[in-house]
Symmetry: D3
Subunit: 320 residues, 6 copies
């Protein structure tokens, strides 16, 4: 197993044609969640991945498991319950000056009720190259934060590379609590993925102080320049051990930006875990995630061949 991720995924319900939720009569059903997105996308690129979560044993829980499996993610570690619900999120796609927006209905989800000791981390993480989670998981509940701590400890013990995305969600917890809970986690982390804004909100520091403060091996920062809702510039850079790696900037026409950062993480990890080359990994992650913006859904249905074509300078003309 190359990569194990841990966290919540939700049923994603979104109106078509830029409708507001209040006006819609139909919702597209997809799924998504930061850690599942990384597992799926890295799996599509070629890593062997697994996703750990807790799901209700009902049609929506099964749909979640099915769709993870559809992309080859190992779902055998999922904990099933007959009690709780699955989280939902409602996504409205915007147009300038109206930003896209997400409304969550995730309280009391099965994963938020997870308890320490429920996951057999040692067995799961044995021989695994990397473990990934994000700042959303400990924000779900105190017990989810405890299980996150268990996971990090087990991952260190198992010798996994530990990768973490800050992913601050102000609807789930305060900046203060996010800092308090996650500061101890940071000492486990080898590779941190984040944005400038989240760095500041959670730790109150500039992004370039991160490695210095926490001793990360690698820090990856994604950069989004929002020209308009439909048009962004997108890039990322990494720094490690005093070196700085900057990727090409892409002009992206935004069909759906949700999951953009997760695609960058997945692309970076795929290339980094298979080559160990940070410069190549950051270019790969950015190209892969730039492509993500062009299609609907949290997942990135592009292929490794398509990423390579971007890196080789694929143009915008119709391919046939």
């Amino acid at each position: 197993m190359d990569l194990v991720t841990f966290g919540e995924a939700m049923i994603r319900l979104s109106p078509r044609n830029f409708e507001r939720l209040e006006q819609t009569t139909m919702l597209d059903v997809r799924i998504g969640g930061a850690e599942l997105n990384v597992a799926v996308n890295a799996g599509r690129l070629g890593l062997e991945t697994a996703w750990v979560s807790r799901l209700p044993n009902n049609p929506l829980g099964r749909m979640m498991r099915n769709k993870a499996r559809e992309h080859g993610v190992d779902t055998s570690y999922i904990i099933w319950t007959d009690e709780d619900r699955i989280g939902l999120y409602f996504l409205e796609l915007g147009a300038s000056p109206r930003a896209s927006s997400v409304m969550y209905d995730r309280a009391n989800s099965a994963i938020s009720k997870i308890q320490p000791g429920e996951v057999e981390w040692d067995g799961i993480l044995e021989g695994v190259k990397a473990f990934h989670t994000t700042g959303i998981t400990p924000a779900l509940s105190d017990s989810a934060a405890e299980v996150t701590a268990e996971a990090l400890e087990a991952a260190r013990k198992a010798g996994c590379q530990i990768t973490y995305d800050l992913n601050f969600r102000s609807r789930l917890w305060s900046r203060e609590k996010a800092r308090q809970v996650q500061t101890p986690f940071m000492e486990y982390v080898d590779i941190l993925f984040t944005t400038e804004a989240d760095t500041f909100r959670v730790f109150g520091i500039q992004r370039d102080k991160l490695a210095e403060r926490f001793g990360f091996n690698i820090v990856v920062i994604t950069l989004r320049d929002v020209i308009s809702v439909w048009r962004n510039k997108w890039s990322a850079f990494a720094y490690s051990d005093g070196d700085f790696y900057e990727a090409r900037t892409y002009d992206v026409e935004v069909v759906d930006r949700v999951g953009g950062g997760d695609s960058c993480t997945a692309g970076f990890l795929y290339r980094y875990l298979t080559t160990g080359d940070i410069a190549s990994a950051i270019e790969y992650g950015v190209a892969f995630s730039a492509l993500k913006h062009s299609l609907p859904g949290d997942f990135n249905w592009c292929t490794s061949e398509e990423v390579e074509a971007q890196l080789a300078g694929a143009g915008l003309r119709i391919s046939r």
Copy 2:
């Protein structure tokens, strides 16, 4: 105001084309809930109606309010909250031998958190002809049961006719608790709507013992003969003061049976409150609710003219 109802309504999400929830990629969005259905349907027929509930102040809460208003229901008594969620239900339409099925996701809904004293029942019910609620409302939570008791007391004080549908929901409470909570409510009730099965499940008695036991003025029992999932026979009868009123039986082709009983209640109340004639009311209620089965959604988009046409023997040939 002719009729005030009190209860929960939910966002209703259903796949098209007989898809299972687990396989679907799209959900139709409608709304429904027993007491709202009665308010909407009676309002469409011509009564002045209001619906009392508690809703979150978000797009889905507003959608609910809007769609009640769309049918002329007075929504000014709704209590708004910034805290809670709206309930959801997922509906799968079946085909023999697979019955249609409903999966609820209604825990912790705004209405279930309603507190005694929150609704100004006296002001709302003053001068109102009838008050209606169902056995779903007190099943939502203990506090909702307390508010139901408040409402019944206020309705009696205001001189409303009190009408009640047993509507037993085994996912919400046990038969025992349903009996224990509702037995005291029954003494307030003038008109009871129910089925043979619910009577037995809640009170452990036969339907013809209801009036005797609880002293209802009128009991209305709906009758469904499920030939197949797509083909039912549908009727109802009433008894009052020793008299028995039996309506015509309709062969219905079932597009969507959800809300069938609520349509019968609404039709009965409309005709009974405007004419006082039970025989005519039961025929009207059955005709109106037979029509309901022919269209999607909890609400009954048929008109009073269409009900009259049924009563006058409208045939099945295309009308043009």
Copy 3:
């Protein structure tokens, strides 16, 4: 040219999934009209057909022309106008006990404004085997009735077989006016298509008195037994010169019955004009029109091979 038809066709707008018009958010767009249906269907079976009408020169008028052309109907005789509108009809599909229903919005359509002298009937009908119109055309307006009279006169002069479907529409004219206007037309008619109900409504006589009264060569009567909205029995018979020809009765599952009669007319005419055999023509017309009920839209997308398979006893098992 084998067959020229004359009349109105409308844009047909219908909700999906048995929705009522009042509740819908989406309409399927198709087209239809009795005389166009006959031209299209007979054309699909193999006759060379043309349709004469009057259309506005706008996207909806062009859509109408295009879709007639799609089935090979000669549309070169259509009269175009920059002034008027195209007629619309809204179709609601029902389920027992709610019949399907049609709401017309056809007043002031381009064809209703047609004027005597506007169509070059002599040129159009020269060498044509059969001319067909229905009782809808003269009902549209007085001038349309005058043009119908012109057409009948020209058709007789050109030696066409004249075929006519009574198609009584009570929203367009009264029984009295229908009788008064059409009685003189009947002396031109060689083959009459009708139902028992229309015969009585228009002429106040039984169907078996038709030939006797008006001297038709052939009378074709369609028979629909409406078991339920979704299930009909469908057949027809013909009589001619004292002989009686009865077709097989089909159990039809009704997807869309609009245009059923027109399919029977088209199938009968196709077979009769190519073989002269009434017995075979009535079987062919009924088989073809039974198939029509199984698909959406006024037109009959079935093929001659599929009709032959029905006549040869095709079963109901999946064909692969």
Copy 4:
């Protein structure tokens, strides 16, 4: 009542995915009309509004009433008729260089047949703060122009602020007739909403001569800079009593620009009627109407909170 509007609303039928009307097989059904749009939008923001019109008593007329009611508009003054039709309009959404376009099918609509004396203006307008109509209403028919004159007279008598949008429609009347009919109306008007182009087309003068010529209290001019069909710059300014109020200009990505001006009117009136502050009202109106361009339909489903967020500098990043 804060605001009463008077005019026509139509069923709006539009193809999806930039299809041309001629090629489409499906139409989205919405509703719209300048004066209803203002009533709905101002109602959504918080004003108490009513809409006066004349509708046919059929499913489409009821749909119109329902959807006005859905947004809390008082529809009790609508005049119902069993005779006439409802107007329709077909909307094609464009892409450069093809502009979006509207095809009307509104002739002989119920509202165009309205007669003087049919509306009880005095009762309706008593105690109302503002009355709004547009140049479309008198263009519908001579009798509609007469009823408009009645309304203006009654509104002055009732002490309403009278607001008017020139909204010139060349398909309905000539520039000459528009000038001739509306010039006398202008003396009633307190607040005029218009564009530079309409001012010139109707009155043959520059926009800055309007107040001088007609003595309006306030003139509001919307400004649209059409960079491309999908990208506009949008703003407005007001002048009153020699002062000039200029709003921020928004870059808008255009999902649907129909109803943009009506949203500006509604936003302006909401803020102006509640605060009396022109500077704030023009900023509010422009922000609200800029948001309108981002969603499908004539109505503006954005909320007052979202307008405030724009005024406070909401960015374009996803909100979650």
Copy 5:
């Protein structure tokens, strides 16, 4: 591994709403193929299954692999090619008297080009309980027939139970060739699934002579009584070693009958392989496959719990 199946699966394209293929503007995309259906369905019930096939390395090939994986089927034995195409089939859903029909476009599919030696049967089948294929696989091409022979030989060697569905497809080969090719295969087969009609078409014998002639351990015969296209009676029976096992007959309302037989096979195998009880297995297979008819697609999205509920007498009333 419990079960390995081998064969072709195709992209399945079907119009909605009973449209004919010739008239449609939209196709639902699903996948299906007899052997994949069995692997998916048995996997859903709880067996560990794998599917062996040959697919093109393009989006449609990947979709096929994904959707097999979605249901937990092991897809690691699929052979990928850059050369060939994937087969398609077009499905029209019918209504009496028009049967549903399938049009194949499967010539030159990747699987039809499979070559002997390409599959490592020995490794794949080691330790596997059962191997399943059908008469479609050898019909695809001579080389596919050779690979089928290889597989049967390897399966016997590996000690698998060998199960086979005759599935005669007249568009793929003649009765004579089907007999000639498959007769030698029959000696490998432990459990034969078929229908009376296929038995006769392929072997020219009655179904009750099958075991006698070929020495099968178990023969399972499905029984379909086609009351109408939308209403079938469905059952099956098994015989083994002189004993006869007859299952309950279900009245099914047919949403989609494609894959019905494969569901019966999967249900039978699941229960038989886990219990060895033929009587229980035939009841289970019939209940599971009766449920299949109620939902769209070749796959059976029902659960083991739902099958058990059927066996325990689940009714047709809505479940909530």
Copy 6:
């Protein structure tokens, strides 16, 4: 007859909403093919056109014929076969940086199996003004190349203007084979349509050497500047006899660019064949094809009136 074209058209299947093919559950069905596109579009503008091809006698073949006929194209020369399949192509619409892409499934199509002698070119081309084909036709198969040669010979004999679009498709043949096969064809060609890129790929020369090298009367070169996937600049120029004709450049918002070049060809031919004026024809072709980009499908549903409006400076404001 003004124009006869010869070539393949395919069923075009495309996901909605920028979905990838691998993720879609629904495909829009349209048709297209370079030579049919030219016939349809020129026919819509007013030329009398016919399309020669070879089609399978099945629902998809009939759909193709129907949709050509829908636009008035003469389809009577199509050769029908009971044997072969129709070609398909799958279109994914992109967003920067992901280009749109086409995946063909056209091998073994009916037209690729066409044989010399199968088309009666002399009869078809007699009296025809122009014959058009493209470099796709001879690329389909050797026999298709032979039939192309027959057609060119017959067209010269019949005195047609011969027009040709290079349309190089690298998936169908190599540059070398394209050059070798087409070089002899070029001596027949009067008007060549191409791009700079295709000129170089096929003949290895610059576009301005084309006339010199092959002696064409007119060369038309389309120019696409791909600012982004959604935004192109589009123009074309012609040169003839030493003169150079340059059209206006359009900013186009790209809904669907497939068929853009074919629209330019059709517009140019329409204007050139009716006026003989190259300068006007190139402006017309570019305006018509700029409009094409704004709507879905290979065909250009814009009208001659709309082209004239563009040429006269139609703006981007909504037309109503």
